[in-house]
């Protein structure tokens, strides 16, 4: 049976992709951020997951306001990254696992999560930057992927409570797959930031650190927030926390925090990293 070996939460800011492309990891601005990652690389090298489920939000590459799904999932053999309009170099295609995707889809829908099914899905920096951060630099991608996309563009966004439940259903879906696979679930985005309006530049370190602690020990405490409350506390893009909650919901075993890092600022955000082990 497939097994969820752990969960990772990480920022997906485009500037990180540029920093990787230009080899700036040891520059003073970037060092405190990238220095957080080696313990995650060591864990990935040791555990060697076969599949990564990447929970992310599209920022206007694949989806537009003409038809905006609340939750969408990829069911393709390959996912392409493309030009998003502001200069981030597209990465090579990411391998999918359509058979596994369809199993997850069937399980989620049977579990009353009626997700939008995408056989053709362009993945933007929300997906590509975490892949590059976690699995890049090895010549080819060492994992197959399942993209799980969440609307954080157009309100109403799904509630934190709903997202946590989706994560639990995702966990049941993965663990009911008959193939003997090791799976890592990655929740991307965050943490506090606000790109637009007169409150642009808003960051809330205290709340970010609270979330990083609670999501490990008491994730249900975070499901009590409404989306508008998260906007108030963490900025207009702060609700990206819901993708971390999907990741956390999928970890239904004994969860241990193996590593964490937090740094301000990366671009306009507080950047958080968590590595969680999920033991049977």
């Amino acid at each position: 049976m497939a097994r969820i070996v752990g969960g990772i939460s990480t920022s997906h800011i485009p500037a990180i992709g540029n920093a990787i492309a230009k080899g700036l990891q040891q520059e003073p601005y970037w060092k405190p951020f990238f220095d957080g990652y080696p313990p995650v690389y060591e864990w990935l090298d040791r555990v060697k997951p076969d599949v990564a489920v990447i929970v992310y939000n599209d920022h206007g590459l694949n989806f537009f306001l003409n038809s905006m799904p609340t939750f969408a999932i990829g069911a393709a053999a390959e996912y392409r990254n493309e030009d998003e309009g502001w200069g981030l170099r597209p990465l090579p295609p990411f391998p999918g696992d359509p058979k596994f995707s369809w199993h997850v889809i069937e399980s989620l829908v049977a579990d009353e999560f009626d997700i939008t099914i995408c056989q053709d899905l362009k993945v933007d920096h929300g997906f590509a930057v975490p892949m590059s951060l976690l699995f890049g630099g090895k010549g080819k991608w060492p994992v197959r992927t399942i993209p799980l996309e969440v609307n954080t563009v157009q309100h109403p966004l799904p509630t934190p409570a709903r997202c946590y439940k989706l994560g639990q259903a995702l966990g049941r879906a993965i663990e009911s797959y008959s193939q003997d696979l090791k799976v890592v679930v990655v929740g991307t985005g965050g943490m506090s930031h606000q790109l637009e309006g007169k409150r642009a530049g808003f960051i809330n370190k205290e709340f970010d650190l609270y979330c990083m602690q609670k999501i490990v020990t008491d994730p249900k405490a975070l499901t009590k927030y409404t989306i508008p409350e998260l906007v108030e506390l963490a900025g207009s893009q702060g609700p990206e926390l819901i993708m971390w909650l999907i990741m956390r919901g999928a970890l239904r075993g004994r969860v241990t925090k193996l590593h964490s890092n937090y740094h301000i600022p990366i671009s306009n955000t507080g950047a958080g990293l968590l590595l969680l082990e999920n033991a049977a």
Binding site: A15, H59, G60, L61, F64, L65, N66, E82, D83, E84, G85, W86, G87, V153, Q154, H155, P156, Q194, L195, E196, G197, K198, R199, A200, G201, I203, N204, K205, T226, I227, P228, E229, V231, E232, S236, H263, I264, P265, S267, N268, G270
Partner: protein
Amino acid sequence: MRLDQKGPFDAHDIPGTTLFDGTQAMKGYALNHMCWSFNAEANRQDFLRDPEAYCTKFGLNEAQKEAIRTKNVLAMLEAGGNIYYLAKFAGIFGLSVQDIGAQQTGMSVDEFKARLVAAGE
């Protein structure tokens, strides 16, 4: 649609913040649609050749056109723009999220960056 909720559940009262809800999404559809088209290099070049004609092709209203002409991000938001699509417009001119953050808050870019650093202290 905008719900006229009161109390802590209403993000419409957060200062300096416009929630991109149904009202904004309807108001800004043409503007956002145009900005979405800027994913493609050929469309970015088309826009640069004749910005007015490109705006007209996408059906922007006068407030949206004026916001685009003056590259005024707060005016684009007021006209229904969504920051993720507007970022593609900003990208044409090489403007980063710090540049547009500075513009929206009336700071210099250096002041805006210093404020971000200060948030970590």
